[in-house]
C-alpha cells in the first residue's frame, strides 16, 4: 500500500478491508474474470451502446470488457461525451477559424481561453442542461450552472459571472408553469449561493419546446495568462487527488442514457435520477481551487461532470499521454453500497480531480482542510500508458485512456433536406394582413410588447443576484452583460447570447449566422469590441436525416460567419435528442459572443438618458417579416425566408458602434432584433424612463416591424452629430434620422410623403405609463 493513502481526510478512506468484505470483493467482475468468461452476456444495449460499438470495445481490449470498463466506455462513448454524431462537422470551427492571436486555448479544452490584453485572459463557455431540467426543473437547472462553473474553474480562472439562455413551451401551458419557475428557481438558488452575478441571457417561448425546454448556461472566468491550467496529467508518481463532494448514486447512467435518449412513451424507464446540487460545496471548491492554484500545487486539473471519475481519469491521462493507477475503493462515498462500475458512472456534483506532486500533497490537503473541502488521494500517475483501476486489490479496469477519451466512434450520419422545407419557405408572410392605420399599428406594438417572449423579464431576472462581486457594469435588460476586470485600468468584458429557432427552422444556415450576428451586434451595441464565440447547438435526434441536415447547415453557417466576422469559436456544446416522440424542436443554435471593453466607463446602455438627443436608425430596412415576432404573435405564422444575412454590414455597424462608444458620441444604443424598431424604441423609452418623438421615413409598418439584420437605434449627444456622421460615412453605415428624445410618451408619426392616404394617418402615441404597464404585466400574471 502506498504511504499516501493515509493522507485522506475522508473517514471512508483508510478503512481496512476486513475479511468480511470477501463476499463483496468476490462478486466484482475483474479483468481476469473477463478474460476467462468471454461469453458472459453484458447489458451494453441498456447502457446505450450499439452492438457495433460493443464489438469495437471487445476488439480494442482483445477480450470482453469488465463491468467497470463497460461503464467507462458507455459514458465516454455516449453522444453527450464523445460528440460522435457531430465531430466530423464541428471540425469546421477549427478549419475555418479566422487567424487570431487572441486564442490561448481552443476547442477541446474544458473551455476556450481568450487574451484580452494587460496580461489578462478570459475563459467562457455555454453548455446545455436541457433534459435534466425537464425531468426535474429546479435541480436540473441548478446543476447546469454548477457544471459550467466547474469547467471555467478547471481552466485556472476565477468564475466571475453567469448567463442563462432559456426556452420554454407556450407561456400559458400548464407544464410551463411547472418547468419555468423551477428552472429559474434552480438557477437563482445555485448561482446566488455561489456568489456569481447573473448578467443576462435570453427567455423565449415556442410550442416546439413544450416537451423539451432549453436550459443553456454560460459562465465566464478571468485569470492572468500564466494561471492557465490544462486537463493533462504529468509526472510519473504524481498523486491523483479527488476533491469536493462524496460520490453518490446521482445520475448514474445519466451521461449515456439521460442525455442521449429521446423522450417518448416507451423511454420513460430510461430516466434515472437527476443530480442534486450543493452550491455551498461548489463555493468552497472555487475558493479552495483558486488558493491551490495560487500556491502552485496543481500540475493538472479536471472537473467531474457527465461521466464523473471515468471522464476525469481518462481525459487527464490521455491529455498528458501517461498512464494512471486508481484505487476505486479510496473514492469517498455517500452511499457505501456503490460498486466500482457505479462509482465510475456517478455524476455526483461538486467534484474535481487534481494531479499533485508527492512533495506537495500535505500542503494541498492542508488548504483543502482549511476550506472544509474533503480531498483524498485515490491513485497516481504511471509511465505504463494504461489506465488501471483496482477494487480492494483486484484489477477491474485495464484500458488505454485514449481509447475511451479520444478514440470513440465517429459517425457521419445521413442528412437530407426535410420534406416540407420548400413549402415552408413558400409560405411567405407577405400574404398576411398588415396594419396601416395608427390605431392598428399601436395595437400591434402593444400586443408584441405584451407577448411573453418580448415582455419585461424582471419576474425572472429579479430572482438572480446581479450585483455580487461589485464589478457588474451591465446586466439585463441591457443588450449585453458586462463585467469590470480591472478596477484600476477599467478593462472589462461584455457578453451576449442569442439564437432564434424560428429563423433557423426556416433556414438553419442563415439562422445560425443570424444568431451570431445578433450576439455580435449586441456586444458592439454595449460598446465592446467582439472577440470570440462560444455556442450551444440544440437539435433533435441526429438519427433523423432531416435533423442532421439542419445540424450540418447550422454548423456550416456558423463556421462561415465566424470566419467572415473574424471571431473564432473557442468551444461549445452540442445537445441532440431534443425531441418528443418523432417531433424535434426547431433547430436552435445559441451563440455567445465575448467582447472587450478597454474602458467600461464608456459602455453604452439602451435607455434614452437625456432629453433632446437625436434618434437615428442605423442600417437598411427591407420588407423582412419571415420568422418575425409580428408574424408569430399576430398571426401564429411561421414561413417564408428569415432576414437576409449581411456580415459586411454587421461588421461595419459594429465598428461604428464601438468607435462611437469610445469617443463618447452616443447617449444610448440598442440593437434591433425580435419585434424590430417598434420594440427597440419602446425598450429605449422604458429603460430610460423617457419618451421620444419620431417620424418614420417610409412605410410605417415595414419600418416598425421588419426584422432586417445589421441595424441599431442610437441617440446622439448634442454636438456630436457631425462627428458621428463622419464615423458612419467612414464605415459606410447608412442612417435615417428618426427624431428626438424627450417627453412622456412614445410618439410615432408617419412620413407625410409615405402615407398613401392622408385620411388613414399612421400616427400614434403611447404614454410611457401605458407602455410600462403593458410590458410589465405579462410574466407576473402568468407565473405569480
Amino acid at each position: 500500500m502506498s504511504p499516501v493513502d493515509g493522507a485522506s481526510v475522508s473517514p471512508v478512506d483508510g478503512t481496512p478491508v476486513s475479511p468480511g468484505d470477501g463476499a463483496l470483493v468476490s462478486r466484482v467482475d475483474t479483468v481476469a474474470r473477463a478474460a476467462a468468461t468471454p461469453g458472459q452476456p453484458q447489458p451494453h444495449a441498456e447502457l446505450g451502446l450499439t452492438d457495433a460499438e460493443y464489438a469495437r470495445i471487445r476488439e480494442l481490449l482483445g477480450r470482453r470488457p469488465t463491468d467497470s470498463e463497460l461503464a467507462i466506455y458507455s459514458v465516454m462513448w455516449s453522444e453527450h461525451c464523445s460528440y460522435k454524431s457531430s465531430k466530423v462537422h464541428l471540425r469546421q470551427f477549427a478549419e475555418k477559424a479566422p487567424s487570431t492571436r487572441a486564442l490561448l486555448a481552443g476547442i477541446g479544452q474544458n473551455a476556450g481561453v481568450v487574451d484580452i490584453g494587460q496580461g489578462y485572459a478570459v475563459t467562457f463557455k455555454i453548455e446545455s442542461h436541457n433534459h435534466p431540467s425537464y425531468v426535474e426543473p429546479f435541480q436540473g437547472a441548478a446543476t447546469g450552472v454548477g457544471g459550467i462553473v466547474r469547467d471555467i474553474l478547471a481552466m485556472g480562472a476565477r468564475p466571475v459571472a453567469v448567463m442563462d439562455a432559456l426556452r420554454f413551451g407556450p407561456a400559458d401551458a400548464p407544464d410551463t408553469r411547472r418547468v419555468l419557475p423551477g428552472v429559474v428557481g434552480g438557477i437563482s438558488f445555485y448561482g446566488n449561493c455561489l456568489g456569481l452575478p447573473n448578467i443576462g441571457g435570453e427567455l423565449a417561448f415556442d410550442p416546439c419546446y413544450a416537451g423539451n425546454p432549453l436550459v443553456n448556461a454560460l459562465c465566464v472566468g478571468v485569470m492572468r495568462h500564466e494561471d492557465l491550467k490544462l486537463a493533462a496529467a504529468r509526472g510519473t508518481g504524481n498523486a491523483v487527488i479527488l476533491l469536493g463532494s462524496g460520490t453518490g448514486p446521482d445520475g448514474i447512467g445519466g451521461a449515456s442514457v439521460l442525455a442521449s435518449a429521446t423522450f417518448g412513451g416507451s423511454e420513460s424507464a430510461k430516466r434515472p435520477s437527476v443530480q442534486v446540487g450543493d452550491p455551498f460545496m461548489e463555493k468552497l471548491l472555487i475558493e479552495c481551487c483558486l488558493e491551490l492554484y495560487a500556491a502552485g500545487l496543481v500540475v493538472g486539473i479536471q472537473d467531474l461532470g457527465a461521466a464523473g471519475v471515468s471522464c476525469a481519469t481518462a481525459e487527464l491521462a490521455a491529455g498528458g499521454g501517461v498512464g494512471m493507477r486508481i484505487r476505486l475503493e479510496a473514492v469517498p462515498l455517500r452511499d457505501p453500497a456503490l460498486g466500482p462500475a457505479e462509482i465510475l458512472m456517478s455524476e455526483s456534483q461538486e467534484r474535481m480531480m487534481a494531479i499533485v506532486e508527492p512533495g506537495d500533497i500535505d500542503r494541498f490537503l492542508e488548504i483543502c482542510a482549511r476550506w472544509d473541502v474533503p480531498a483524498t488521494v485515490i491513485g497516481e500517475v504511471t509511465d505504463g500508458g494504461m489506465l488501471e483501476m483496482t477494487w480492494h486489490g483486484e484489477q477491474v479496469v485495464d484500458i488505454l485512456p485514449a481509447s475511451a477519451a479520444d478514440d470513440g466512434p465517429v459517425y457521419r450520419r445521413p442528412a437530407a433536406r426535410p420534406a416540407g422545407q420548400d413549402q415552408l419557405a413558400a409560405s411567405d408572410p407577405s400574404a398576411l394582413p398588415r396594419p396601416a392605420a395608427g390605431a392598428e399599428l399601436r395595437a400591434a406594438l402593444l400586443a408584441l410588447l405584451a407577448s411573453p417572449g418580448l415582455a419585461d423579464k424582471t419576474w425572472v431576472t429579479e430572482q438572480y443576484d446581479r450585483h455580487v462581486r461589485g464589478d457588474t457594469v451591465l446586466a439585463m435588460p441591457q443588450d449585453a452583460g458586462a463585467i469590470r476586470v480591472d478596477e484600476r485600468t477599467h478593462l472589462g468584458v461584455a457578453l451576449a447570447t442569442d439564437g432564434n429557432g424560428r429563423y433557423s427552422r426556416l433556414d438553419p444556415y442563415a439562422g445560425a449566422q443570424l444568431a451570431l450576428a445578433e450576439a455580435y451586434r449586441n456586444v458592439a451595441a454595449a460598446g465592446a469590441v467582439p472577440l470570440a464565440v462560444t455556442n450551444c447547438l440544440n437539435f433533435g435526434s441526429p438519427e433523423d436525416p432531416a435533423v442532421m441536415w439542419q445540424f450540418t447547415e447550422a454548423v456550416r453557417g456558423l463556421a462561415d460567419a465566424c470566419a467572415t466576422l473574424g471571431v473564432p469559436v473557442t468551444g461549445g456544446n452540442v445537445s441532440f435528442y431534443n425531441q418528443t416522440a418523432a417531433v424535434p424542436i426547431h433547430p436552435t443554435p445559441v451563440v455567445g459572443v465575448l467582447g472587450v471593453h478597454q474602458d467600461v466607463r464608456r459602455r453604452l446602455t439602451i435607455g434614452f438618458a437625456q432629453d433632446g438627443d437625436t434618434v437615428l436608425l442605423l442600417g437598411r430596412t427591407a420588407d423582412e417579416l419571415g420568422g418575425s415576432a409580428w408574424a408569430q404573435v399576430m398571426h401564429g405564422h411561421l414561413g417564408g425566408r428569415p432576414p437576409a444575412v449581411d456580415l459586411a454590414a454587421e461588421r461595419a455597424l459594429a465598428a461604428v458602434l464601438t468607435a462611437a462608444a469610445s469617443g463618447g458620441l452616443l447617449s444610448a444604443a440598442h440593437d434591433l432584433s425580435d419585434g424590430g424598431l417598434a420594440i427597440a424604441l419602446a425598450e429605449c423609452c422604458l429603460a430610460g424612463g423617457r419618451g421620444c418623438r419620431v417620424t418614420l421615413p417610409g412605410d410605417a409598418f415595414t419600418l416598425l416591424f421588419s426584422e432586417s439584420a445589421a441595424r441599431a437605434v442610437v441617440a446622439v449627444r448634442p454636438g456630436s452629430e457631425a462627428a458621428f456622421a463622419a464615423l458612419r460615412d467612414t464605415h459606410g453605415v447608412p442612417a435615417a434620422t428618426l427624431g428626438v428624445t424627450g417627453g412622456a410618451s412614445l410618439d410615432v408619426r408617419a412620413s407625410p410623403a409615405a402615407s398613401a392616404s392622408p385620411k388613414a394617418s399612421a400616427n400614434f402615441v403611447v404614454p410611457l405609463d401605458e407602455l410600462a404597464d403593458v410590458h410589465r404585466a405579462t410574466l407576473p400574471a402568468l407565473f405569480g
Binding site: S188, P279, K283, E462, D465, H467, D471
Partner: protein, 225 residues
C-alpha cells in the same frame, strides 16, 4: 491614522470583497478576518458581510454564530465595538442574539434583487450618524430571507427606543414587519441591515453612491469626529 475595519469571511460569505471595497472607498483600511480564528486583529469596527454562510443550511446564520471568531466578536460588540451586519450578516447577528428579531422567507417566497428606497430612522448609531433623520437613500436589496419579524412587544420597544435604523420607503419588498430594513441594539453600536449599502458606492456598478454613507459615518465615529 487610518481606521481599521474588519470583514469576517465565513465559509459561503459572498459580499466580503464588496464590503472591503466599500471600506476602502470610504477611506478606511479593510482587514480580512477568518471565521476559524479566535482573533479580531485589533480592528476598530467589524462588518459581517452578505452571502450564504454554511449554505444557509439549518437556518440562515444559525451555524455561523458558532464560529470561533464569534466568540471574540460577541463580547467586543457588547462592550461597544461598532458592528454592521449586512444581509446574511444581519441574520447572523440575530442568531447570535446581538440583535432582536429574526429574518424569514420573503413574502413572495422568491429571492429578489432590486434597488430599494430606504428612510433613515435614526442617526444615533456609528453607521448612520452621517445621514439626517428622515433622509431617503437608494441601495440594493438582494435576499431570499429578508422579511424582518419580531413579536409585537419587541417591535413596539424597537420603535419606542429608536432602534429602528431604516425602513423601506415606497413599498415593502419582502413583507418585513413595520417595513423594517434595519435595526440596532440598545446601545446603537450593533446595526443589522438587510439591504446592501456596499453595492451602492459607485454609479458604474450600482444605483448610486448613497450606500457609502454607512461606511464614512463609521470611520468618522471611530476617528472621534
Amino acid at each position: 491614522m487610518t481606521e481599521r475595519v474588519g470583514i469576517i469571511t465565513f465559509p459561503g460569505s459572498l459580499d466580503d470583497s464588496d464590503a472591503a471595497r466599500a471600506v476602502a472607498r470610504a477611506g478606511g483600511e479593510p482587514v480580512r478576518l477568518w471565521h476559524a480564528d479566535h482573533d479580531l486583529r485589533g480592528v476598530d469596527a467589524v462588518i459581517l458581510p452578505g452571502g450564504f454562510s454554511y449554505g444557509d443550511y439549518l437556518r440562515c446564520g444559525a451555524i455561523a454564530r458558532f464560529a470561533p471568531v464569534m466568540r471574540e466578536l460577541v463580547p467586543a460588540a457588547r462592550a461597544g465595538l461598532p458592528v454592521l451586519g449586512i444581509c446574511n450578516g444581519f441574520q447572523i447577528l440575530c442568531e447570535a442574539h446581538l440583535l432582536p428579531g429574526a429574518l424569514t422567507r420573503n413574502a413572495g417566497l422568491r429571492f429578489i434583487d432590486r434597488d430599494v428606497r430606504l428612510r433613515i430612522e435614526t442617526t444615533a448609531t456609528p453607521w448612520t450618524r452621517g445621514f439626517s433623520t428622515g433622509q431617503e437613500i437608494t441601495v440594493v436589496l438582494k435576499s431570499g430571507e429578508g422579511a424582518y419579524v419580531a413579536d409585537p412587544a419587541t417591535l413596539a420597544a424597537l420603535a419606542a427606543g429608536g432602534q429602528v435604523v431604516a425602513r423601506y420607503s415606497g413599498g415593502n419588498p419582502n413583507g418585513s414587519a413595520g417595513d423594517i430594513a434595519g435595526v440596532c441594539n440598545e446601545a446603537g453600536n450593533v446595526v443589522g441591515l438587510m439591504p446592501h449599502p456596499e453595492h451602492a458606492i459607485d454609479p458604474l456598478t450600482g444605483p448610486g453612491t448613497d450606500g457609502l454613507g454607512f461606511f464614512t459615518s463609521a470611520l468618522r465615529a471611530m476617528a472621534g469626529q
